[in-house]
Symmetry: C2
Subunit: 204 residues, 2 copies
């Protein structure tokens, strides 16, 4: 009945999403993280089953055919996807689970799981976004401009999300996400079964 929540988290490059999520999981180790299946080769420092399951193109396409993915996309010639079963099992067991995806992945998940609650991580301002994207100092102006374009494209779609977290101070932003996770339990889309119960009782 009181199942765990499914949370879709997106944020553009420059939003500080990665640091934010790793702080969140450090603070709340009970929150599950959805491991993506990918067909790209493992990089130095990565471990199988930590953030990704590294599988073959054939295995990925079989998962697709069996409709075992909540969302997927192709990036630089490789597949990336979110397996359905671990997410649904976590929720069934009463665990909250976070799926980290881009705006397109979030859209696909929303269509398949309307009860999923979505959170968009925002940089605090345009100036700060610009600073963060150019901050590393090693990139050309073209690369920075391209990152900026892609960040702004994602921010334009932030209006598709349920909640917006502004990542100015990281500790505040982590607490904001924790608050969303507990408060969203009461959102209409997660409580609808109760309305249906009372009304079905009448109709039956």
């Amino acid at each position: 009945m009181n199942k765990g929540g499914i949370f879709v988290v997106s944020g553009p490059s420059g939003s500080g999403k990665d640091t934010l999520l790793s702080q969140l999981f450090k603070k709340c180790p009970e929150i599950k993280f959805s491991i993506s299946s990918v067909t790209r080769p493992m990089r130095a420092g990565e471990k199988e089953g930590e953030k990704y399951n590294f599988i073959s193109r054939k295995e990925f396409e079989e998962m697709l055919q069996r409709d075992e993915l909540l969302e997927h996309n192709v990036y630089v010639g490789n597949y990336y996807g979110t397996p359905k079963t671990p997410v649904l099992n976590a929720s069934k067991n009463g665990d909250d689970i976070i799926i980290e995806v881009d705006v397109n992945g979030a859209k696909q998940i929303r269509e398949k799981l309307p009860q999923a609650v979505s959170i968009f991580i925002m940089p605090p301002s345009f100036a700060e976004l610009e600073k963060r994207l150019s901050g590393r100092g090693t990139e050309t102006e073209e690369v920075i401009a391209e990152r900026m374009n892609s960040a702004l494209f994602e921010i334009e779609r932030a209006t598709e999300y349920d909640y917006i977290v502004v990542n100015d101070d990281i500790d505040t932003a982590v607490d904001d996400i924790i608050q969303i996770i507990s408060g969203s339990r009461l959102m209409l889309k997660r409580q609808k079964h109760i309305i249906d119960e009372v009304l079905n009782y009448v109709k039956s």
Copy 2:
């Protein structure tokens, strides 16, 4: 910038909404309550300006003409309405404010103030609703059936609300509302100005 929230609270007869709200204001005296303007006569035990402002029919109609009400309705030949200015002022001052209205009033407010967050108070089950409505023991079966009909009519429209609070245990329900009030600060509709700010910067 971080303005106070405007919360619309509804719940049918039998939801226990009145006791719930009075407990909430006892626990959180900093939360404001929107005082309705009504044209019905004051009853024994009521005080001007506590829950209602008692005004004349002429005064009410003048408020209507000056578009000073967020919502209004007619009940047993009397006007009931929510004055706009105190609600907007509370929010501007950073105070959270609760407006208690029925499903029709909530709809009118949602149209005028899309940033308002709405909460529907539910009885825990059909059986419990029936028990609460007939519990006083003094009413005829017709009166109970009529109350039941009107409660079910309201519950059918619970799907128009942002959050559903099930009032089974009153302390839990009070805490649920407190959690909604703090968590809803991060809802898209209350954060949209931040997205607009970043994007407008680009367009300008």
